[in-house]
């Protein structure tokens, strides 16, 4: 603090309180609506104070949203995205920063191109591709007339149908969301800051590249990994469009998609109270992550060396 200025401090507090209120008002009303009965929630105007149905509604939302199943799905998907992305990114960052090989720059640019292209942009072709990811191979087989060839050799008429249908599967929900380069670049940047002496020393000791990776790079990367993991977990948990398109089986839906099913539509009663309880439930895990791991979350971003 450079100087004292009580008035300005008051103003600053007022600004921050206003900001905090802005964040809290929608959440507060979600809570209020979530604590009312169906009849009360339809009243105009909506009561400003909560009612007594909060826990009943939570329970009902939990069962209606199939949350015991969909929460598990969301956790699997979010953790899968987190672990998968960190793993492939670490490996490829290691490869492009610590090895000299002919197509290094090519690999770099291939990965680089995917940097800012979220799945939403190429949603239709991705859906098609992943609905049957084996289709390219199938084309290859058809172009090469392998079936005919085999039929000619064996005397049987053969139909080869390659199928790798990932609709309603965990890989189908996870893998397409791993396909972007962001984390790779992050680790690349980090590796570039690591003192050259470490690698030189490791080489002098005769350590293999993988040993160096495992015993030196990886431990050094832990703070970055943790911080990144938090952000990726939130990213995975909060996915909407992809699971919306890619799960047709209710048992494979994620929590956010299950919540969408709780939102009143034309052919159901306007149970906004249940929908809001469901919304609170669905946002609870990521909010807890931010609250409890906030130190890591900000630490990773801000001051890992302070």
């Amino acid at each position: 603090m450079v100087e004292r200025s009580p008035v300005l401090n008051m103003v600053c507090h007022a600004i921050l309180i206003a900001g905090a209120l802005m964040v809290c008002v929608p959440l507060y009303f979600a809570f209020v609506a979530g604590s009312l009965t169906v009849a009360e929630v339809q009243k105009v105007p909506l009561p400003w104070l909560p009612g007594g149905q909060f826990f009943d509604n939570l329970q009902l939302a939990w069962s209606k949203g199939n949350f015991s199943r969909t929460f598990a799905n969301s956790i699997i998907v979010a953790l899968g995205i987190t672990a998968g992305k960190i793993a492939v990114s670490l490996l490829s960052a290691f490869a492009i920063t610590y090895f000299r090989f002919r197509y290094r720059m090519l690999a770099f640019w291939l990965i680089f191109m995917s940097l800012m292209l979220p799945i939403e942009v190429r949603i239709v072709p991705t859906f098609e591709a992943v609905a049957n990811a084996a289709l390219p191979l199938q084309w290859l087989l058809e172009t090469l007339h392998i079936a005919d060839l085999w039929g000619w050799i064996s005397g049987h008429e053969v139909a080869i149908a390659l199928e790798w249908n990932m609709v309603n599967t965990y890989p189908g929900l996870i893998l397409p969301l791993i396909a972007s380069a962001t984390a790779t670049f992050l680790f690349r940047q980090f590796f570039l800051t690591i003192p050259e002496e470490l690698c030189e020393a490791a080489r002098l000791d005769g350590a293999s590249p993988l040993h160096f990776f495992w015993s030196i790079l990886l431990p050094l990367s832990v703070p970055n990994m943790v911080a990144l993991a938090i952000i990726l977990f939130l990213f995975g948990w909060n996915q909407y469009l992809w699971p919306l398109l890619f799960t047709t089986d209710k048992d494979m839906a994620t929590a956010v998609i299950a919540l969408k099913g709780l939102i009143p539509r034309s052919d159901s009663e306007p149970a906004w109270n249940i929908a809001m309880s469901g919304a609170l439930l669905t946002m609870l895990p990521p909010v807890l992550v931010v609250l409890l791991l906030q130190r890591w979350f900000i630490k990773g971003l801000v001051d890992s060396s302070k």
């Binding site: 339809q42 289709l135 191979l137 008429e157 139909a159 609709v167 047709t248």
Partner: protein, 443 residues
Amino acid sequence: MGRKVAFIAALFGALALAGPAQARVEVQWWHAMSGVLGDRLNELVEKFNTSQDKYRVVAVAKGNYDEVTNGVIAAYRAKRPPEMVQIAERGYMTMLLSGALVPVQDLVEQKGYKIDFSDFIKPVASFWSYKGRMSAMPFNSSTPIFWYNKDHFQKAGFDKPADTWQELEKQLYAIKSKGISECGTVLPGDFYWSLLENYSAINNQPYGTLANGFDGLGTEFVYNKTKVVSQVARLKKWLDDGVMQIAGQGFSPEQLFTSGRCSTFVNSTASHGNIERNATISWSATFLPHESDINPPLNSTIGGGAIWVMKGHTPERYEAVAAFLDFVAQPETQVWWHGATGYVPATNRAYALARERGYYKDHPTREIAVLQLSRGTPNENSRGFRFGNFVQTMLAQRQEVEAVFAGQKQPQQAMDDAVKRGNEILRQFEKLNAGKTPETERP
């Protein structure tokens, strides 16, 4: 040419040979029914499965109509389509010319079932058939009817809603001005279907050239030159005067009616189940109104879905499909489905059966849709709609109507623009399908 060996190799090593024939032949049916309707559909399938022991139909709910369509397209492209799929009426031309289907009438006749296709009620039959042959099995057919709050009308001194738009307007304004309800009617979510398309049919207005597309792909929209323009202007006026409300996201039009907030509501006859369950008011229903200078009004047209049969399956599976379709067409099945859901019976025989049993004495409003659909002789304005990319043209039209509601455009301008955009979309469909005739080959 030798034995045909088919094998499917999953990429991760699992190799499955087509196993020995199962005890029952199993076929899949992807559908779009949710909630109460979904439960009823499952009951229907269960009835079929227990009625015989050779076949088993597996009903798979794949979300709403759009999601089912996308699912089936993806599955077809991945060469794993289901045997049967339920597609909404608006997708008729896309399905018909897709080259991915087996025509239903050909299939059941080839398999030796004798379904009397001439017995289907006319708007249903003409909608789902091409050149007199049924392309898909009519399954859930509905039509919009006029729902109203009995108390509101009585309080305002009316027996029931008037037959004409002109008189109805006076009634709704009276109800509002007497303070009986703050909202005379609520704009239905699918107003393009009930208040523009069906409006055109009932009031004998052409919607497109070439008999609304029945006579060829060269059809063009013409509703910018008909009473549709004044209909849009009327809706806009009601909206401005507070006689009509829009429910908006998260609050359905039906709720505004069933909670007693709005006095009337134009909606599908299929909402009988929901309205019976949710309404806290004393309600009834009647025919859609018509213009005072159009007398007699023509029939309305259908909405809903039909069962399409996908190509690429084995003969024994098609046996199962044909058996199921035959089951669906039975008058008994039709009557049961009609009573369970509110959809109309698709055949005259089923309708007669329901009447005979006195069903409509207890449920008078359930008969309205059938009567409205089958009144008079359908002409080229009321037979139905045969437009390619009909979802896309509809969304463009809805956008233009919303521009009127928002006060951005005059009704005439908006309908001109909607027709222009719609015709571009139709030309694209024509270009793609030029010279194509639908599937006629046998499975």
